[in-house]
């Protein structure tokens, strides 16, 4: 293990200038699978080590187990299950899953197919007459937001309000006290408060009023594990709103970008609609929406690849790097929708595997299929497109395309 070069590599990865193509830097990072940083934290970047540690019960998602918790936006009074360990994590995730998927609600995602297709079609209908389309603003952002609002029971017309909060919140996730203005953190903290207050207000209206949306069902349903407290419901809704909001947009946009960069695959997809299924898996490996798990904590000493990570250490997991590890994936920098044994880390792994993965998959499969089917000779206006700030939830901020003879 060396600590000489990698701190600089990580700094360069986090720096905005490498946002369009962090992959060569990931390759550099992987030379040291477990790299200690100057601040004492650790960065893990290789597939085997990532897969192992995501199944390691000594890895904690609870910031209270960090020996030096930053006064960052991760501090919350009531964490959502993404920031908790078993048994609390398991209980809350089970309670939420009761209303989202198997075993209690197995048909929810397949039951949404019609609504997903309709939402996609209507957005594409609106492309008509436009010379330029922004895949982000005109499609990949509004589509999943509509879906998650409907699912949660959040009024779609409130979107402009929480859009700002979510933006500030996401921007503060990778807050670095050394380089970032304090304002970035403060805005994130305030946004979290505002969002909590907003969701709390919605929740208050749902008590005693059974309905089909997630907020109503969480507020009124009693399962074998009891009911979530209001604070827990707000934390859960907050998590699902952000995740349903900020990740699928990247997956769809990265997907369209990747297809436009691989015209032969795009062409194939037109004639072979089933290709979209393995294609989205490959996308989750090749251009995933979540690149980094910014921190986890060593609950006790953890040995990874011969390195002992001491109890209390902060650990950063470079998922997108792991999915490009040549020791796991043949020719990893090639986008290959026919790839077999594609056990990528696009949705993480272990008990924290993405809660909404099945929905995100169907949204992206339907979105890309319909875009490819209905766009007429789509072309990128700029490559690379401009990217959003975050190195964690990475994706273009705009993706302008032209189509037809325009």
């Amino acid at each position: 293990m060396t600590t000489t070069e990698t701190p600089d590599t990580l700094r360069r990865i986090l720096d905005y200038s490498s946002r369009a193509d962090p992959y060569p830097l990931y390759a550099e990072l992987r030379k040291t699978p477990v790299a200690q940083q100057e601040d004492g934290s650790y960065v893990i970047s290789t597939y085997r080590e990532l897969a192992d540690i995501l199944h390691n019960p000594h890895l904690s998602s609870d910031s209270r187990n960090l020996s030096h918790p930053t006064a960052g936006a991760e501090e919350q009074t009531t964490p959502a299950f993404i920031n908790l360990d078993p048994p609390e994590h398991d209980r809350l995730r089970r309670l939420a899953m009761r209303h989202f998927g198997p075993p209690h609600t197995p048909g929810l995602v397949t039951g949404m197919e019609g609504a997903l297709t309709a939402a996609v079609s209507s957005l594409i209908d609106d492309f008509a007459g436009k010379e330029q389309i922004d895949i982000v603003d005109d499609f990949a952002y509004p589509f999943p937001v509509t879906v998650i609002c409907h699912l949660l029971g959040v009024p779609r017309e409130d979107e402009p309000r929480f859009h700002l909060w979510v933006n500030d919140l996401i921007n503060s996730i990778d807050y670095n006290p050394k380089t970032d203005p304090k304002e970035k953190l403060d805005k994130g903290v305030q946004a979290r408060k505002d969002l909590h207050q907003y969701l709390g207000g919605l929740l208050d209206q749902r008590h005693g009023r059974p309905g089909d949306d997630l907020l109503s069902r969480l507020a009124n349903d009693d399962g074998p594990d009891g009911r979530m407290t209001d604070e827990e419901i707000v934390a859960t809704a907050n998590l699902l709103l952000i995740a349903g909001h900020e990740t699928t947009v990247n997956l769809i946009t990265n997907g369209m970008l990747t297809l436009l960069r691989h015209p032969q695959v795009l062409q194939r997809l037109c004639g072979e609609p089933d290709l979209v299924v393995p294609l989205v898996e490959e996308l989750l490996r090749y251009e995933p929406p979540v690149h980094i798990i910014p921190w986890r904590a060593a609950y006790s000493d953890i040995t990874v690849a011969g390195t002992v990570i001491p109890k209390g250490s902060r650990i950063m997991l470079m998922l997108a790097s792991g999915s490009r590890d040549p020791n796991r994936f043949h020719d990893p920098d090639r986008f290959d929708p026919d790839r077999r044994d594609n056990q990528h880390l696009g949705f993480g792994s272990g008990i924290h595997l993405c809660f909404g993965g099945p929905l995100a998959r169907r949204e992206t499969q339907i979105a890309l299929s319909e875009l490819v089917r209905r766009l007429d000779r789509p072309r990128l206006v700029a490559d690379p497109p401009p990217y959003r700030r975050s190195p964690v939830l990475r994706g273009p901020i705009h993706l302008h395309i032209e189509q037809g003879d325009g």
Binding site: H55, N56, P57, S60, N65, S300, D301, I302, I351
Partner: protein, 463 residues
């Protein structure tokens, strides 16, 4: 087959016979073709029809969801084989390299893979086993018959034996709201495989789901009515239970009788082989052209002091088939050892039970994560201070971590705490019932004095 030229010729034009056309046999055949074997491939199986999967037979099929005939195994590739089905093998002639079929046919081979598996141990009194309503579960015909009997709404089902299969069947009876009695000789269900602590949990689950669980008792007689239908079972404590269906779930018998005079180290415990799946002869010398895989194979495992272990596990059949197939078409230097840790699963009473390693190779067990009363936990098994196995109840996502602990001989009990470690975490003796006597008395006799003339001969017992 020593030179590379010979190996190439064998891969091109050789003759491979696979005896046993179930999971291990099929996967080996596919792997042989994947490895580039283009010679002739013959699949011999005693059951008619294509290879099918067995685990669903005691689960999805018995719930009535899936028809017994609907478990044919998917194919990974074309294997271009000649199938000789419906006729069991009756012998193996190693002097002339022929498999003898019971109908008199002789099938020549250059190399042979034995994957004849196990069959269900029948009820020990033949006339009682023949009663209407008495079942075993191994083949799809068995499962189909039992499913029909369950669908008819029996007044009570008696399950004899509370191992994994018996417990799964009891679970399905309760799911179908059929009254069920489970009779087990040991003090608790699953105790022979997983020890007393887990046995208690299993007993708890059964009773919580309304199973009439009777442990420490032996069924002595199955009594029929005048029409030859089962109506009652008698126990060794003098008690009885009225039941119109009985499922005999007393484990399996390895299908090795046909190898009796073959000169291979084959017996009730299976076919002894090396980690490369090459069969040993009676003297314990490794053979070159005879391979074994699946339930019938008995391989040494270096992690467990090189003890010979045979496993009736799905994954074991798949992994050994791959290793055996590879080694059948590879030179000595390229051979693979079969070093996978055993992994096992069982689905019962709504709980996913999984294990990794060999739980019987342990002296202590400790709950490392979760809650036993909630039936959501992981328990680690240790032998003389190292981790040798782990069992999870609805906690499978952690099991891979324990696999690595076993593979690295990590200390037991695991010293580092986890967030969900129980407050009273303390190792307890694993407490298995006494060793199960697979074969009583000697199975071989050694003769000769000089090292050059000492030899083993088989000594068969009446069972």
């Amino acid at each position: 087959m020593t030179s590379a030229d010979n190996l190439q010729a064998f891969k091109r034009d050789g003759r491979i016979v696979v005896v046993g056309a179930s999971l291990a046999g099929l996967r080996a055949a596919e792997a042989l073709r994947n490895e580039g074997f283009t010679g002739s491939l013959t699949m011999i199986g005693d059951e008619l029809g294509e290879p099918y999967d067995r685990p669903p037979l005691s689960k999805q099929v018995l719930t009535g969801w899936v028809p017994a005939g609907g478990t044919k195994l998917p194919r990974r590739r074309d294997i271009d084989a000649e199938w000789l089905l419906g006729v069991p093998a009756g012998g193996l002639d190693l002097a002339t390299n022929h498999v003898l079929l019971t109908d008199g046919r002789k099938i020549p081979f250059d190399r042979v893979l034995i994957s004849t598996g196990v069959r269900a141990r029948p009820w020990f009194v033949e006339s009682e086993a023949a009663l209407d309503g008495v079942f075993i579960v191994r083949t799809r015909e068995h499962a189909e018959g039992l499913q029909r009997a369950l669908a008819a709404g029996p007044s009570r089902v008696l399950v004899i034996g509370a191992g994994f299969t018996g417990s799964e069947i009891a679970s399905i009876c309760r799911e179908r709201n059929i009254p069920v009695t489970v009779a087990e000789l040991a003090p608790a269900p699953l105790v022979g495989a997983l020890g007393a602590m887990i046995g208690e949990v299993a007993a708890d689950m059964q009773r919580a789901h309304g199973v009439d669980l009777r442990c420490g008792v032996k069924v002595t007689q199955l009594e029929g009515d005048a029409q030859g239908r089962l109506r009652r079972a008698h126990f060794d404590d003098g008690s009885t239970v009225d039941a119109d269906v009985a499922v005999v779930a007393l484990g399996g018998i390895r299908n090795t009788e046909w190898l009796r005079d073959s000169g291979l180290a084959a017996g009730v415990w299976g076919i002894a082989c090396d980690t490369g799946c090459r069969a040993l002869d009676l003297n314990g010398l490794v053979t070159d052209d005879i391979f074994a895989a699946g339930d019938v194979a008995r391989c040494p495992n270096p992690i467990y002091e090189y003890r010979l272990i045979s496993l009736e596990h799905w994954a074991n059949a798949v992994e050994q088939a791959e290793v055996a197939a590879h080694n059948m078409v590879s030179g000595q230097a390229d051979r693979w050892p079969h070093l996978c840790l055993p992994v096992f699963w069982s689905i019962q009473f709504g709980v996913n039970i999984k294990s990794v390693g060999v739980p019987t190779f342990a002296d202590e067990v400790v709950v490392t994560q979760g809650s036993v009363p909630d039936h959501r936990f992981v328990a680690a098994y240790g032998y003389r201070g190292r981790v040798t196995a782990a069992v999870s109840f609805d906690n499978a996502k952690w099991l891979d971590h324990y696999r690595r602990l076993i593979e690295t001989a990590a200390p037991f009990p695991p010293p580092c705490p986890t967030p969900d470690q129980p407050a009273d975490m303390k190792p307890v003796p694993v407490d298995f019932p006494g060793p199960v006597l697979l074969a009583q008395g000697a199975t071989v006799v050694v003769t000769g004095h000089d090292p050059s003339e000492r030899r083993v001969t088989a000594a068969y017992q009446h069972r």
